[in-house]
């Protein structure tokens, strides 16, 4: 390996190999349902490993899924999501696991881990019972944002007047200052809108968080989303869904952003971390 470039040979040498493993989709409370009939990743048979109070939704695997094309990854992600979704319909709110979580060993290995973590898993299932994740995305219209800020800012008005009256040299500096102020005020306005929206929704939700909009991965074909966006993730019961939607209708008239409301999803953003047999985390 040189200059940080990894050859395919290096990659193959570091790749974990497994003889027998279990791909984990999610953890559920099996008391609320009997079985689950859904096809897993790459057509694998999905089943439950059940220790009584908790169960893991799994499929048996003898490979890891790192050697893939974008299309294949897209299919596997959707399949993972579909299995978790079906499990949620069957058993109630599941604890969804991160994509590509594979435990080495057979069903006994998974059962042992479930027993070791039973209390934590049961607590998490109880906490999340009846709650689902909703995602609210504000796709900002950057031109409308700048227009709104420019029309409502005395500071930008003043800078504009000074630019008109300035000589060539000073004009350039003032224009740079004007850009900086406009950027700051646009960001402040966006933060205010998002904060007000979160405050408006909070009474009807268990938890409202601002998602990190900087880390965005796109697998959608032809995804040309070049605009900025902000995102809220909401943990709420289905009973509150229409109330939250009503509040978003009030914001839908906002000229500076288009609102997308999706869900209910399994609560990926609100689940805990689990440790090992020794309880280390």
């Amino acid at each position: 390996m040189s200059d940080g470039i990894v050859t395919s040979r290096d990659q193959a040498q570091d790749r974990p190999e497994i003889d027998d493993g279990r791909y984990l989709y999610c953890l559920v409370d099996p008391d609320q349902g009997a079985d689950l009939r859904v096809e897993g990743i790459d057509g694998q048979s999905v089943y439950l490993i059940n220790i009584g109070d908790v169960a893991a939704v799994v499929h048996r695997c003898t490979q890891i899924y790192d050697d893939t094309s974008i299309d294949q990854l897209r299919r596997r992600l959707l399949t993972h999501h579909n299995v978790v979704d079906q499990a949620g319909d069957r058993f109630g709110t599941p604890i969804p696991l991160r994509f590509h979580t594979i435990i080495e060993g057979d069903d006994t290995a998974v059962s042992e881990w479930l027993r070791d973590q039973q209390e934590e898993i049961t607590d998490a299932l109880s906490t999340l019972d009846g709650a689902w994740e909703y995602r609210i995305r504000l796709n900002w219209d950057d031109e409308a944002l700048e227009r709104h800020v420019s029309e409502n800012s005395e500071q930008l008005d003043d800078l504009s007047r000074r630019i008109d009256q300035a000589g060539a040299g000073k004009k350039h500096l003032l224009e740079k200052e004007c850009e900086r102020v406009r950027r700051e005020q646009v960001n402040a306005y966006k933060e205010t809108v998002v904060s007000d929206l979160a405050d408006d929704i909070s009474p009807d939700a268990r938890q409202v968080d601002l998602a990190d909009a900087e880390e965005t991965v796109s697998l959608a074909a032809g995804d040309g989303d070049d605009g900025s966006h902000s995102q809220l993730v909401v943990l709420a019961s289905c009973d509150c869904e229409s109330t939250i939607g009503d509040r978003l209708d009030e914001f839908a008239d906002c000229e500076t952003a288009d609102i997308q409301f999706t869900g209910p999803w399994a609560p990926y953003s609100f689940v805990p971390e689990f440790g090992d047999h020794n309880g280390a985390k």
Binding site: F99, H100, T101, E241, E273, D276
Partner: protein, 75 residues
């Protein structure tokens, strides 16, 4: 406004979530690396939308080190 749950929305909305969120199991029995899905390096760079060779090189070095560490822990 009613929430949407169409498959196309699932992929756009959840690809970040599926790759980075969800419960993490930090245990020796987990084969895959908890902090990053073991997706092929070139694919990972592509889906992250890395624009520059410099960023691509850095990502590969980091990813290689993480995989090496995981392989060492399992040895």
């Amino acid at each position: 406004m009613e929430p949407s749950k169409e498959p196309e929305h699932a992929l756009v909305e959840l690809v970040d979530v599926l790759l980075r969120d969800g419960a993490v199991i930090r245990a020796d029995i987990v084969v895959t690396v908890a902090d990053v899905p073991l997706i092929g390096i070139s694919l990972q760079a592509a889906i992250a939308g890395m624009a520059t060779m410099t960023e691509y090189g850095l990502l590969e070095t980091w990813d290689h080190e993480v995989r090496k560490s995981a392989a060492g822990n399992r040895a």
